[in-house]
Symmetry: C2
Subunit: 480 residues, 2 copies
């Protein structure tokens, strides 16, 4: 297997929108982005039309008719960076929407462990994983940090599928070896098994993508109350030796936190358990991080670890409201995660929408709480611009791809989506043209670009994501 | 203009799902629902196939080939009652998703009043209102309680459009006559103008639908801090004389509540202001009702007035979290409202989803609050079954149509939607058939019916609403 690539240089022409900083989007109209055949952006020209772009390509870049293609957006369409899903469980995909009134610990035993266990069946794994990769691509997710299962062959299959379908991915074989806390039917049998399985999945991914240019292994201790201290320390050692990234869960649910307190009485707190094992690195993704103390957040910040905020999951299974503004002000990098199937939606756009809503719940006046100084205040609110930053540049930082994906800048790789919005014609009753389903965003024509983007954030779905590229390769295209 | 109707008797065959009580759905498979040419359900037969249904129609109902049609659902599809949107503002439709970080009072002045004012232009009104009626129909909303604007001709046009497009509707000309609180460019100029305009819109709707069988006027004082006491009392008197329903806003935002306190110092509270004006009747829809005291809720319950819960709006513009369980336990009827454009979504399915999420925010452990005894407890949580009840039977009760719409029972009118979910084939990588866009619900085949319904609630959208009927008339059909 080899990393597929687009065979030609490409010029993308039209409107480009990306985050210039946390609270600001940059709108670049009449712009050309030049992407070489490796998928890297080699030039960006504003105030550009097709003939000028053609000239730049030939004269400055030395491209020719034979080795380049021009892709022009239609009027009203715009290019946006691909989304980064910093936390999701591929094997749980068939369970999205199925959680009842459960919370974390009963949800794991009722819905999650049985489903994950069943993915040892490779036929089932292929069916589920193909769907989840295609589905997330169709929602504009160009990079995903996946938890797989404990099974090496199925985990490796997920990596194979990401590579062949063209999604940039971190694929983690899940480590969970605690005899008292993991079910008999679904756990690593021993520390030796943890080591063997971890190594086998790393070896496989190195064999299919030696530079981890598209698909990378990620060390994945499930969470403290599922792992032995020995297994966590082993993974911390592997991270130190290999420089591989790490992903786990932290401080999601109050009962989980109490359980960790009981299990690790020598540790100061949940975060300290991971720190003791050497698991808090600058390449560590901590999912949830809802109920942290000041000391825990300060430790995460000092270690340079990152947080995956999963608002859909946190509301659905009643985990809590993560304090994103507070985390950001601590200097912690934050991205968004769908956390399927704790979260029900495959869409990072939905995660962005819900991040904005959850921040408003934190800001509500009756939400005053001694431990949350910013609760009940305007300051907790996240803007449209901020949640789109978290969905792109923030996510890129969380998965260690800052400067490589998340924007349209020279030197970055071209991970992008082409967004099209519906328009409401100047029509009278009964005369409306049907035809292509343009989704739920209705543009009347008088909206500013800022308003069009807000409309997309709130009513957009996969119908608005017309095409998706990863590293310059077209990996999804809606049937027209 | 006459009320359009389906010309024939109809037999609907397949699976029917509806609420049998607040926390329970009834699943009726292999069922036939017989709808006469007036749109009324005249028989329901379970354990029925096409030939048995045909026999019942001929022998018991006396129908013949000439005057009846059979409509059979495909395998996996099901009929569900049409949704009732108990609160939305048709003229604000172009603004959905555009609210920034505003809260109620600045949101009204920044976004809402300018847009509403501009709908005096009938060309614009026709364009906007056509779209909002079609759009809500496409999401399965068979009944809508609309706020229009202060303008009589545009309000009447909305009523005309509902009638011709076939949506059951309550259409309210908005009364807002307070000189200090409403903008100069957008208010009723005098009490005389309130009376004239109110009467003119009632007269118009009586002329197009004399029995209000599909479209009814609804008395619509915008909210206490936009109306004079005289105008509210006048509308209370009209309600008493005519028996017409009433809709208004109540206790949405803490600053609004303080404003009402300042404006009506003689009143005990916000709710009492309406009671004094005679506006709390069994046919009154109170939108939001978030920050009520025990005394206010008890008064609403005693008067038999109803509440429209608008979770999308309440989260978006940071109004608060309405305590639905508490309202229900007070014996108050509760339905769901999209409240566009305080809410961003035209979909009552999305409102149901968000009602479930907001109830979980109320249940979160750090949400303990002296005034909310059920906050921070499991009891606050609403189930999938409960939010679907609110979306159908609850809504029907709120708009005074209980026993007439909201379920599949003999004597009810047939307001229904046909739901289809996507299925994931037994496919390997690369072999997936594309073609029709079946939306985001993925059924793998092993799910129970309860799980299929949960999947629809969480990932369903207008793509899953294949057809919509109001009073037996097909009013929406997705292009296939």
């Amino acid at each position: 297997m080899a990393v597929p690539r687009n065979g030609k240089h490409q010029i993308f022409l039209g409107s480009f929108i990306h985050s210039s900083r946390l609270d600001e989007l940059q709108y670049m109209h009449d712009t050309a982005v030049f992407v070489d055949e490796s998928g890297t952006i080699v030039a960006v020209e504003q105030d550009c039309n097709e003939s000028k772009a053609d000239q730049v390509a030939r004269e400055r870049l030395g491209w020719t008719d034979n080795n380049m293609e021009i892709r022009q957006a239609k009027d009203g369409e715009f290019f946006f960076p691909g989304f980064v899903d910093t936390h999701l469980h591929a094997p749980q995909y068939p369970n999205i929407g199925i959680f009842g009134k459960s919370t974390l610990l009963d949800w794991l035993n009722t819905y999650t462990f049985p489903m994950e266990s069943s993915l040892s069946d490779l036929t089932k794994a292929r069916r589920v994983y193909t769907r989840v990769v295609r589905r997330t691509l169709s929602h504009g997710t160009t990079t995903a940090a996946y938890f797989a299962t404990i099974h090496v062959p199925a985990t490796n299959l997920l990596a194979d599928l990401c590579l062949s379908l063209g999604q940039r991915a971190f694929v983690g074989r899940v480590c969970m070896d605690h005899r008292d806390l993991c079910p008999d039917y679904y756990r690593d049998e021993s520390l030796e098994e943890v080591k063997r399985a971890t190594q086998a999945s790393i070896d496989h991914m190195r064999s299919i993508d030696p530079d981890f240019s598209l698909v990378s292994p990620i060390l994945t201790p499930r969470f403290a109350p599922g792992c032995t201290a020995e297994a966590m320390s082993y993974l911390g050692d592997v991270a130190k030796e290999t420089g591989l990234p790490i992903q786990t869960h932290l401080s999601e649910n109050v009962n989980e936190i109490q359980l960790v307190r009981d299990l690790f009485p020598a540790s100061r707190d949940y975060t300290d358990v991971y720190d003791t094992a050497g698991l808090l690195t600058p390449k560590t993704i901590l999912a949830h991080a809802i109920h942290l103390s000041e000391a825990e957040a300060d430790l995460i910040s000092a270690r340079g670890s990152k947080v995956s905020h999963c608002p859909c999951s946190n509301s659905s299974i009643t985990s809590g409201e993560a304090r994103v503004r507070w985390l950001l002000e601590k200097g912690i990098g934050v991205g968004l995660g769908t956390d399927m199937s704790g979260g029900y939606s495959p869409s990072i756009l939905e995660a962005a929408r819900l991040a904005l809503l959850v921040s408003r719940h934190l800001a509500m006046p009756h939400h005053v709480h001694d431990a949350f100084p910013e609760a009940g205040t305007e300051r907790a609110k996240l803007s449209v611009e901020e949640v789109l930053y978290l969905a792109t540049r923030g996510g890129a930082e969380v998965v260690g791809l800052q400067g490589k994906v998340g924007g349209f800048e020279v030197g970055m790789e071209f991970d992008a989506q082409l967004i099209g919005l519906g328009t409401v014609g100047e029509i009278a009753e009964g005369e409306e043209a049907e035809g292509e389903d343009k989704g739920n965003v209705d543009v009347f024509g008088w909206e500013t670009w800022e308003e069009k983007v807000a409309k997309w954030v709130f009513n957009g779905d996969d119908r608005n994501t017309k095409k998706v590229w990863v590293k310059g390769r077209l990996v999804h295209s809606r049937p027209t």
